[in-house]
Symmetry: C2
Subunit: 162 residues, 2 copies
């Protein structure tokens, strides 16, 4: 988990710089309909985390139908398999953590040939989920470097929870 | 939210007594395929909550396709609309809250005529999601009493988060 957090931190750290000029490394767009995809799991990064400033929020992870069977097996994933992390704000009231508005949207999309240099996965992250605000410019460094240890799960951190 | 928590507490309190002899008030069964339904939202009840003992966990809420359009409008819901709360354990590591195994499964299913005395909704909760372990014996008292204040949303606490 800590490695996944480092990965996301490296990426989401860009959110903090604000005026960063985005030059996306590829043509990945936010997928339509991801809110209807299979809900893989949820993780909350709270203020107790050293990564809270960059990474705080409720991480709702979804996978498209192409990737679902592979998720259940723990990989490998066929081309067009797609994961999103739908990152939301949250509020805490009386010990209850309640979901708020979208903070960012992150994606992993499989194309073994196109993204061969990053394990067959393309990566992108949009501030607020806004297609006009992509923040990943170097997927190898910002994303894949931290996914690499999960090679035995085809570079995916999430596992299937029945 | 606090009212929703009281509702769930009243229901989940039964989990604590353990040896409670279950006599379900109706014939509601755990729905198949709910893990594929639309993910409405997630809430975590942490140890900072006074309800943690009965209610602690990650609450993943799903709605079936029949109820989704109504959720987006804030109700009212047509018959056969169904919500589940898929309650999971979680672990906390370095400020990150990570989803674990299923703790219980709760349901609301709409049938305006059959469940007229409880706002048109039938309720049930199964320990561990096990169809053989239903814990609701008096839905009016254990469930509906706390949903009643949400009459303007057809007794549903969850709202649509895009």
């Amino acid at each position: 988990m800590s490695q996944r957090l480092r990965l996301l931190s490296a990426t989401l750290g860009l959110l903090a710089v604000g005026a960063f000029s985005a030059e996306p490394a590829d043509d990945i767009k936010p997928p339509s309909g991801y809110r209807q995809w299979f809900h893989v799991n949820t993780m909350i990064v709270d203020k107790g985390s050293p990564l809270f400033a960059e990474l705080g929020g409720m991480h709702n992870v979804y996978v498209n139908s192409t990737g679902l069977a592979a998720l259940k097996k723990g990989g490998p994933y066929p081309d067009k398999s797609t994961f999103v992390t739908d990152l939301h704000e949250f509020t805490v009231s009386d010990g209850s953590y309640v979901e708020g508005a979208r903070k960012a949207l992150a994606i992993m999309v499989k194309d073994a040939k196109k993204y061969a240099s990053t394990g067959g996965w393309g990566f992108q992250l949009w501030e607020g989920g806004d297609a006009n605000k992509p923040l990943v410019t170097d997927a190898a460094k910002q994303c894949f470097a931290c996914h690499q240890p999960k090679k035995d799960q085809d570079y995916v951190y999430s596992t299937y929870i029945p």
